[in-house]
């Protein structure tokens, strides 16, 4: 492999660099520190309470108490929170990306008055964190009678997700060559057709990257859900985990099983779609 034949050699040199070798060992050490919490959590999740208290923190579990997972699943109402989280994520994420794509296409490709202002507003929107105004969001959702409902959480999620996604897709659509859409314009195709038939297919990789990033963000979101979903039957996983922690924090094995079950979906999605993460993040932040 190319990487291995060039390993430890700086750019422009063919000699093995001792500094790089040292650096490598340092990095491996630091990486081990970084993943140590995960190891600790998984180990603890498989220990019975008595062996948590009796054994060394990093000792592998001897009794393999899978029962922790079953207990945590029922006590933490995971069957409810998983379903809620799935419904909310499955509706919000594709819908949000689609709305953003439409808006980004219009801003990037349709000459209209006020386009620049909208773009400015959008960039401004990417920078305003909603954590700052949880109570007013609660009031607005309440005014529509949507507290404790799926639309009640999905609509603010959409509102605060749109600017960032529009910003990313605007950059992407602006870089699509003009010839691609001009020909269709000349043939009399509407902007709707061009968007649907040309821009959506062309930008599929960028859209998938956004979908995957947004999946993780939506699945993990806590603060907004805390304010809007107050009924335990409507809770998502982060809310469920928080409640589990405050109720059963001394059942160490089960608490850690609950943590593992909460973070597993996002972790798997990341490990499977790794390269999309980098693609999505970098088109978003660096390309300007």
């Amino acid at each position: 492999m190319n990487l291995f034949s060039q390993a430890f050699r700086p750019v422009g040199s063919n000699r093995v660099d001792p500094v790089l070798c040292l650096l490598w060992f340092g990095l491996i050490g630091l990486a081990l520190v970084w993943i140590a919490p995960f190891v600790f959590i998984v180990f603890t999740s498989l220990k019975s309470s008595s062996s948590v208290m009796g054994s060394n923190a990093f000792a592998p579990p001897s009794d393999l108490a899978f029962v922790n997972y079953a207990r945590a699943w029922t006590r933490g109402s995971f069957s409810t929170t998983v379903v809620n989280g799935t419904i909310i994520t499955l509706i919000k994420v594709p819908l949000g990306v689609f709305l953003s794509a439409m808006a980004a296409y219009a801003m990037a490709r349709v000459p209209m008055r006020g386009g620049k202002l909208l773009y400015l507003l959008c960039v401004f929107g990417t920078m305003i964190p909603f954590q700052v105004m949880l109570a007013p969001i609660f009031m607005q959702v309440n005014a529509f009678g949507l507290i404790n409902s799926y639309p009640g959480i999905i609509l603010p999620y959409l509102a605060f997700g749109v600017p960032c996604q529009v910003f990313i897709l605007y950059g992407f659509f602006s870089s699509v060559p003009k010839e691609l859409s001009e020909a269709a314009r000349v043939d009399g195709a509407s902007h709707f057709t061009i968007f649907w038939r040309i821009f959506l297919p062309v930008s599929l990789p960028a859209l998938s990257a956004l979908v995957i990033l947004d999946f993780v963000a939506t699945w993990n979101e806590f603060a907004m859900a805390l304010v809007i979903l107050q009924d335990p039957r409507k809770w998502t996983l982060p809310l469920g985990l928080m409640a589990f922690q405050s109720q059963f924090h001394s059942d160490y094995g089960q608490l850690n099983a609950a943590i593992v079950m909460t973070v597993l979906p996002a972790t798997l999605v990341y490990l499977i779609f790794q390269r999309y993460f980098v693609a999505g993040l970098t088109t978003g932040a660096i390309k300007e």
């Binding site: 990486a31 700052v132 509407s190 943590i259």
Partner: protein
Amino acid sequence: MARLSLRPDKQGYLLLAPAVFVYFLFAFYPMLDTVRMSFSSWNGLSAHRSFAGLDNYRAVLTADPVFWGALRNTIGWTVLAVLLPNLISFGLALALNQRLPGRSWLRVAFYLPVIIAPIAVATIWKWMYDPFFGLFNNLLTAWHLQSWIVDWLGDRHYALGAVFAAHVWQSVGFSMVLFLAGLQSVSTTLIEAARIDGAGRWAVFRHVTLPALRPTLAVVLVLSVVNSLKAFDIIYGMTGGGPAQSTQMLAMWAYTQAMQLGDFGKGAAVSVILLLITLVIVVPYLRWSLRPARSGK
């Protein structure tokens, strides 16, 4: 889709409409409402909001013993969160940009905490800080450092630092990926040329790598400032602002005032102050970043 005989700009407005509609209703309006609410006295329940002028601001700035502590924590947290994790991220990115075996796995290891829900990070770290069976005190015992054992989250001298450590663990990977992407734009031919000309490691870094990374640096700095101003989940999950308000932050305090103590006016005043701080940092950045975009067209 059917061919519609609408003027092109009308088609554009139609495409924009849904996103703009949702944004204005559920993001922009609440922001304006925050400002309006901050000038009124309201418990969130009664139908009537009475105008209170600057009372809320006066109460927050002069009579609220928690506000100034929360402001100090927010500023300290933000400054440290911009410096410390990003320095680590930068170092990691530089190192992982070298030809090292297994570097993609190393990247995964450092990025993994980023995709974990912040509330789960809080739960994980709270458990690691557990005074009796947690990882840290366990390790200290194993290393015969029993005298160092403290109740990390229960002691107001250590709590904020303990929460910050969890934040560092979670956020290093994010900036690292941005830096790595920025490093891709550094021309390798330029580096090779500099090397051949006899430039040392430091000279290459100083005169080739660093200038090419300037736009990335700006993005990373602004993103980490905004991310730390909104620090909420991790504090809510680990300490809830305690002990003795020692980990209280503005975003959390605004939430507590309105949603838990029922004083929406005062909560909104705290929100507005936080919004203003955000604007002071964001607006100059926006002006800076939009200028090259305009000339590029």
